[in-house]
Subunit: 321 residues, 2 copies
Amino acid sequence: MNRICQLFGIRYPIVQAGMVWCSGWKLASAISNKGGLGLIGSGSMYPDVLQEHIRKCKQATSNPFGVNVPLIYPDIEKHIEIIVGERVPIVFTSAGNPATWTGYLREKGITVVHVVPNVKLALKCEDSGVDAVVCEGFEAGGHNGRDEITTMCLVPQVSDAVSIPVIAAGGIGDGRAIAAAMALGADGVQIGSRFAITRESSAHDRFKKFVTSATDTATLLTMKQVMPVRLLRNRFFEEIRELEQRCADVQELKDHLGRGRAKKGIFEGDLEDGELEIGQISGLISDIPAAGDLFDRLLREYAETVSILNKDAFFKSDEVL
Amino acid sequence: MNRICQLFGIRYPIVQAGMVWCSGWKLASAISNKGGLGLIGSGSMYPDVLQEHIRKCKQATSNPFGVNVPLIYPDIEKHIEIIVGERVPIVFTSAGNPATWTGYLREKGITVVHVVPNVKLALKCEDSGVDAVVCEGFEAGGHNGRDEITTMCLVPQVSDAVSIPVIAAGGIGDGRAIAAAMALGADGVQIGSRFAITRESSAHDRFKKFVTSATDTATLLTMKQVMPVRLLRNRFFEEIRELEQRCADVQELKDHLGRGRAKKGIFEGDLEDGELEIGQISGLISDIPAAGDLFDRLLREYAETVSILNKDAFFKSDEVL
């Protein structure tokens, strides 16, 4: 049996990423109901909002779901308290030290997954008792690591280094990429951008439509001096780039960024002054389907890809060299 | 039959990249003799040296081989003249406008492939009569595009956009990645870094050994203001980074780069002051095998990956949704 399905008690090893301003209970429950793992993105929620989303998610699905917790979140203790109190079975942590919360969460019977951008942190996760790692490549949307390792390079190296299950993330927008990730050694995949552009995503319609018109060159990793983030090119992006090109210091960049830019862009649909976090694979996204229909499509594309790959293999394992 | 095998008249759709200071007749003929496509890298050769390598390659293999020609090369006309005169059957062009030489080369009966970093240039290649494109991702070693599109994102988008065959490049260091590239929609793969670290590669032994000790975080894309290039971190890299961080202008960067840095690093083995061009997948490279043995290993790993992927598929195409 697939190790990710076994770990989470789910049918298909497909995780919907917990994304700010996109992944509330509607999206998470839709994916969990299909047999994947839905995640609530707590990074854009106040504690009471998170609690409400967890409760609604429990009502909307009887299948396992989880919460994504960025460890840099200021009210992290309150978030953890709610997650434990509501008996959420699975937590994905990111952007912080995996040693800080893993032990506590596992004592409470929670399965812990941590997001990593390199082999060193994957090994640290394993040492800290983390149950699985998400290898997130350079092409992923939103905040990203400083090492710029792509999914293609990260997944095989982490798979070779650790014995816990590995989930591939970054650049996975269709079933071909799911098959590719599994070929590279992943036990499952985490899909963000593609699920952000579905009906159940709480992103603004203007944002969703803008992503469907994006091309392959529409995003870039920016603000590397502050905290690297992958954004769609828009007016705000160009302003930041201009500041960077004239060597503005970190404080100047932070001041221009201000607060609430991601909410403004993703949730309020301000395409000019908002921070439009999305992955590089957005060039491949051209529709806004229901999340469940998309999930079925991904499964079909994946199965078709595996079948073609096997049928058309240019070298078979029974040919001896 | 596989479209790349058909186009080149080869047995396996695996191309060995034409790399500066690595890919002479020894490496190219070793790969062509195994049924792949070996390429001589003309970018680091004077015209008479290129002619000698082509002649030696013809003596060393009766199978098809090709030459890689960076179109920014100053003596480009002389190179083209030699290639046509020596009746080389296949040319890979890169770093320039595919419209410039494609018509002429094809008139001479030469199969033309062009290296692209985005969908727009792939479409232009198709319009210009190019026979196939290499999609080279951000993770690839040496000179790279400005769009920073990774192999995982580039291959499916180019495959969807063009009808000519697509070769995936960047981040392909073992048979798992070959299977992944084929899953993403590629008809074949081009492998650089992994073949650069073989006995037949003309790189210096110190360079080869240094690459075998590299980790996943050892390379970065740098010198973006001049011409983006992926390098191993060393003293020279840190000097460039320091200049960039204090916003040095293009001329200052060019002056510090000077001439002959890649030769110094790769061919002469100066690990401190040389430009050490190699791909991000170097973290996966841990030995210096004979190129032919490596080729066999890649085939076996690829076949094994396809077989496991098919056997362990979590969803089969005969399951109806």
